[in-house]
Symmetry: C2
Subunit: 353 residues, 2 copies
DNA sequence: CTGTTAGCGCGTTCAA
DNA sequence: TTGAACGCGCTAACAG
């Protein structure tokens, strides 16, 4: 007695809908899956009824039977300060156009959390997975189980050496460009803030800096000093502020600073202000990420745009290709950054040799 | 031949695991669901094997059979500028402790998207739904279908009049407090930026302002002027900047401005700077949301903290109560805000009557 | 073009 | 304490 012919009853299954329309439930199923063998008229009738009654076939049963769902898993490390954040809408829209639904898991930048999210997406028979700033290597068991299950996987700007099928930011060239720009303003002695020797992100960026010096026949280590963030427990802003004294160091005379990101740069600007150091007259500052707020500060923050729109567009394209069974190729796709010259970087304090 | 006794075969189902352990699959099921009737020894043996083999029962089949999953649906309007963003981790952690998994849908602030997300969560037999800054009324068909399906639903700071089971920000009292603070600094003529007559948020805040004036026996409309945002197409920052001229209006002499949020306030500060208007000497500024960056500007932004931590803690508590079958009560829970006096609001330009 | 049968992996109910 | 039948809602394959 779970379904009756009563018109007012809720429609909960294809069976209900079928009896309601005086069809067999297999006909409904065929319409649902776009199979041939149903008359045009019946099709439109079924579709109209589905629309009108707001009927949606049970995703759980569907996924169980088909072995795949229309869910696309998105792994996000954090939700605030994510430079890709607002561009995610592009991904969502593109996926929706193909009938997929994006479901995000926030991993708090934790490797274990990310691995668990991968596992859940596999368990849910997701149609694909996109992981942002991933910490998982291709050899990680959870990554393997995703790929072994045949689920397309795209890494966007992974924090480790990019596994195959990644879309990456060209940090190296971006930094080289920034340093060239500083050279053109007469700078030579540069301090980096927050770019440690560890991690893929930092290494790539330090490499770009070295390249810039090398292109002029100089050795970077004679002109560049690395200052680590003051305290890992603090926020990026607070860390930037707390590092002002270390950056403005009497033993080393930088005329410019390259920071790990805009938040650190903004905090540093505040710290320098307290110290009476003027930006850019005394010290030039270059951020990274092109946060919107940077354009509304005084001075307006010179920064590097990591092109989140391009990154996400490329990732979307790759994912959809994989889902369609096309091979997007294993080589990581590298997206160039763009320098945004504004006011926080200016001519060097004094001409240098 | 879908499962063999071969030890090296992948374990994909309870049947596989059962044959592997020389048990019946119903015993596995009982362990999985914590039912009695399985010896301690067998239980530990099963659990150990599950751990070791990384076996997870198929969520789809489980949900299909039980009529509910361990997914908690989270509706988020946007991902950038969300003042609750970083506190979401608290929710995730609390849910995980109870065995639930948060899955977020980004709705882009769109009513249709939110309704669809509700529908998908219902279709997936989510164990609960939390919607942030919702635009859906309790009478919306998709909301009804969620509640009729018996799925606990909590609205956090809805943009409309709070449906039952909401957790809200006390905007009215918050604004009253802010205005009182401005009074204490000698201000009387205030301009609001971005607080229109439309919308629940704005109305509550305007009401709080009126209350503050009324408490002193004044009529707000004689002292308060509302300036709308310049252009809905722009970002909040850009809108704030573009509104500087309208705020600094020769026909009205505000000594203080209350903005709809910190982003608008930061943009406005920039616009005022271009106009040669000093903050706070010429004009005091109060933001809203307590974005972290506000504390690193010059001047440091005086703002109102909407207590996202408290909000989310309350929402989490309510959701878990509902899931446990307890009734958290229908009355909206109202969380007080907190004024953060910093440097962008100072004494009024000149003593006023 | 339409109806039938089988089974996806699991949990509940009843029997042993 | 353990085993077996049944069905959740759907789709693939096969009959008619």
């Amino acid at each position: 007695m779970k379904s009756t012919k009563n018109t007012r009853d809720a429609i909960r299954s294809t069976t209900d809908l079928a009896t309601r329309l005086h069809l067999s439930r297999w006909t409904i199923s065929r319409v649902l899956n776009g199979h041939s063998g149903v008359s045009e008229e019946t099709q439109t009738r079924v579709r109209a009824a589905m629309q009108e009654l707001g009927f949606q076939p049970n995703s759980l049963a569907r996924g169980l039977r088909k072995g795949t769902t229309n869910i696309i898993g998105i792994c996000l490390p954090e939700i605030e300060g994510l430079y890709l954040g607002q561009k995610l809408e592009f991904l969502r829209r593109a996926l929706a156009a193909e009938g997929f639904h994006a479901m995000a898991a926030i991993t708090n930048g934790d490797l274990q959390e990310e691995a668990q999210a991968f596992d859940r997406f596999r368990n849910l028979r997701a149609a694909g997975v996109v992981s942002f700033a991933s910490q998982l290597t291709a050899r990680h068991p959870r990554v393997r189980s995703i790929t072994e299950a045949g689920i397309p996987l795209v890494f966007v700007d992974p924090t480790i050496r990019p596994p195959k099928g990644s879309v990456c930011v060209d940090r190296s060239t971006g930094m080289q460009e920034a340093v060239e720009y500083l050279f053109s303003l007469g700078h030579r002695h540069i301090t980096t803030l927050g770019l440690g020797p560890d991690g893929h992100y930092s290494r790539d960026r330090m490499q770009g800096i070295s390249h810039a010096y090398a292109a002029h026949g100089w050795e970077a280590r004679h002109f560049v000093r690395q200052v680590p963030l003051a305290n890992e427990g603090l926020s990026h802003y607070a860390n930037g502020r707390a590092s002002a004294a270390a950056v403005w160091n009497a033993n080393f005379h930088p005329t410019a600073v390259l920071t790990v990101n805009d938040r650190v740069a903004i905090g540093l600007m505040d710290g320098l202000r307290s110290l009476g150091v003027r930006v850019p007259e005394d010290l030039s500052l270059v951020g990274y990420d092109a946060m919107e707020v940077g354009a509304f500060l005084s001075p307006r923050l010179t920064t590097i745009d990591a092109r989140p729109d391009e990154l996400i567009a490329a990732a979307t394209e790759r994912l959809l290709q994989s889902i369609r069974g096309e091979d997007p190729g294993a080589a990581p796709e590298v997206i160039p950054t763009r320098l945004l010259p504004r006011d926080s970087a200016g001519p060097a304090r004094e001409p240098e040799a």
